[in-house]
């Protein structure tokens, strides 16, 4: 607890007020710790704007969401009509709703770019593991938020998307069907489901999301930001204890980020005004038809931001299971033959592999599809421990690592595109190859991230004044 500070009676009114507040609430201390004396590396590039932008989009979603709730009705008989009412009759309702629907897609755009930045510059490496874990949890909460929000307009895609995703849970052995019943609150997606998804979408998940965002930022400010060189700026401090390569977040990066915000808003408003449906990617055409429990649309696809993971789900067929079993067997054989670990551990690995293979043969491919989809997200959590590269940043990795990352990005786009398309023989095969590559990239990372000739890492950040 800080000592009570007296202030000179000659101080001006503003100083007296702040002194009064600071003796009761650490306002100035917090501002210094997180803004004016939070030292961020001076070599940030454009990839470093997406953290602030995702905070901006979060605010847009919360504010527009509050105003939408004033007019929306979470009732299966009224929901679709109330959204059309917002679009047609509520003054400026169309704008608020399009800001919210475009905001959902914008959120995923900035978050995917933000995550890719972390991947490129090794921002998840020690000591930033918890920053990354909180971030992955935010991504997971965001997916839940987006999924439940998508049910609310009660269109055909809302209904059938929810039907499919909730039924994913019923694929879990033993508890699955009861779990799906608990989520739906009825034997099919219906009024009860809509009502509870509304509760989760407007109260529960946003609260969790806000808590996680606070934890993400506190953890970040504890360890300090990484930078494109992947160097710890705290290793080189001046006599005043300030990192030599650090500049105060405020005013340098606050102004920098305000500029980024205005650039972002150009694009965002252009989409809101001129292409809010984005050719069926942001708002799917079938969702302009009210939900009909007896008629599945001829082609159903999730919104674009879920499609890469949806492809992982669809790729796992009973044929694919043989490939996956072969992968487990080969992996186990390699571990036994190559790994330098005691025989006891090897025995455990073989035992675990046998158990997994037995389960893979006993349980439906449908369940393993669900596992693949969930695993595609969950594997991100393990990144800090999968990456064994001696350098953090892509800049000092072997050149072929860059090609591998490029291949990962292209693959992510390809499986994302395939997730929007109807099933076909050739698309199915490409999806399966893409799925193997996606998981291979991460699971083999402990091995490949060590290979190659790494470039020397400078002790100070690369920076040219401009």
């Amino acid at each position: 607890m800080a000592e009570f500070k007296e202030i000179s009676p000659n101080a001006n009114g503003g100083e007296k007020l702040m002194n009064w507040v600071d003796n009761r609430f650490p306002a100035t201390k917090l501002f210094k710790e997180h803004m004016s004396e939070y030292y961020a590396p001076k070599n940030f590039n454009i990839w470093y704007i997406f953290g602030s932008l995702s905070l901006l989009v979060l605010v847009i979603q919360i504010v527009t969401g509050i105003f939408l709730v004033m007019h929306y009705k979470p009732d299966a008989a009224l929901a679709f009509g109330s959204v059309e009412y917002i679009m047609r009759d509520v003054p400026w309702g169309w704008l608020i709703r399009y800001m919210h629907s475009t905001g959902a897609s914008a959120f995923f755009v900035v978050v995917y770019l933000h995550m890719f930045r972390g991947l490129m510059y090794g921002s998840y490496r020690k000591p930033r593991e918890l920053v990354w874990l909180f971030g992955c949890a935010i991504f997971l909460a965001l997916m839940a938020e987006a999924f439940m929000g998508y049910l609310l307009p009660w269109g055909q895609m809302s209904f059938w998307g929810a039907q499919v995703i909730v039924n994913l849970f019923s694929a879990i052995p033993f508890i699955g069907p009861d779990l799906a019943l608990l989520i739906r609150g009825d034997f099919v997606v219906g009024d009860a489901t809509l009502n509870r998804f509304f509760a989760f979408h407007v109260i529960a998940v946003p609260l969790v999301l806000l808590g996680l965002v606070v934890a993400h930022i506190i953890a970040l400010h504890e360890v300090g930001s990484n930078n494109p060189d992947g160097i710890e700026i705290k290793a080189n401090k001046g006599p005043d204890g300030v990192p030599l390569d650090g500049i105060p977040f405020h005013p340098y990066y606050s102004v920098h980020d305000i500029f980024a915000v205005s650039m972002f808003l150009f694009v965002f408003t252009a989409i809101v005004f001129f292409a809010p449906e984005m050719g069926g990617y942001f708002l799917e055409y079938n969702n302009f038809i009210p939900a009909d429990p007896f008629q599945t649309p001829l082609h159903i696809a999730p919104v674009w931001y879920f499609t890469p993971f949806y492809t992982l789900l669809r790729a796992v067929t009973s044929e694919m299971m043989y490939v996956l079993i072969a992968c487990v067997v080969v992996g186990t054989a390699l571990a036994v033959a190559k790994a330098k670990i005691p025989a006891l551990f090897k025995g455990l690995i073989v035992g675990a592999a046998l158990a997994v293979v037995a389960m893979m043969m006993a349980i439906d491919a449908k369940f393993w599809g669900v596992v693949a989809m969930g695993g595609g997200v969950v594997i991100l959590f393990f990144l800090p421990w999968l990456d064994n590269s001696p350098v953090k940043s892509i800049r000092y990795r072997p050149t072929w690592h860059k090609y591998l990352y490029a291949a990962f990005v292209i693959n992510f786009f390809v499986i994302g595109y395939l997730g929007t398309q109807p099933v076909s023989e050739i698309a199915g095969r490409i999806s399966q190859a893409g799925t193997l590559f996606y998981f291979g990239f991460f699971i083999l990372m402990p091995w490949w991230s060590r290979l190659g000739t790494f470039k020397p890492v400078p002790s100070r950040v690369t920076f040219t004044a401009h």
Partner: protein, 220 residues
Amino acid sequence: MANAVSYNHGLTLIQNAFLRIPMSDTPVNNSKRTWIIASGCAGAVGGIAAAVPFVSSMLPSEKAKAAGAAVEADISGIKPGEKLTVEWRGKPVWIVRRTPEQLAALPKLDPQLADPLSLRKPSETPEYARNGWRSRKPEIFVAVGICTHLGCSPSDKFNPGPQPSLPDDWQGGFFCPCHGSTFDMAGRVFKNVPAPDNLEVPPYMFLSDSKLLIGEDKKA
């Protein structure tokens, strides 16, 4: 600062009980530790008990459970090769009057099917439908129109022959647009598609030649 002293004292007690952090030279008081653990466990039990009503409130309500009554359908208007959909428990139930050609194609498909005899989940095919055509009367097929993969409603692909998304030797059946599962005219799932099981056949009985009762078969 009497408050600070007692605060520190309380902290020491907790640390001694749980963390073994040597805050002072006070020896661990085993009796107090036991009581702290016991009250912690009692609190956890109370917390779990308090969660039960909240989780249970998410289960289907009495109203939702009561909506499962049997429904009657008039099948006299269905021409051969046509389908009627009725609602039962919020789900679509299909009634198809199959043509002789469609019936004739069924036995030939057995090798291409994942589970031609509906053995995997016998509870989803009533005894009277465990036959080559999966129905009481060969021409009248009744099934719940929900894909056993992830709950989409498959669409009708009754016309045989090559067409998009379907194999070239297609004999007529159902196609699920969500993940590409295919079913024959008896709702039996083909091999190597995402759906694991045949379409569910609900309990049903004929009240007369033209009246069908879906959801009940006991009085038959």
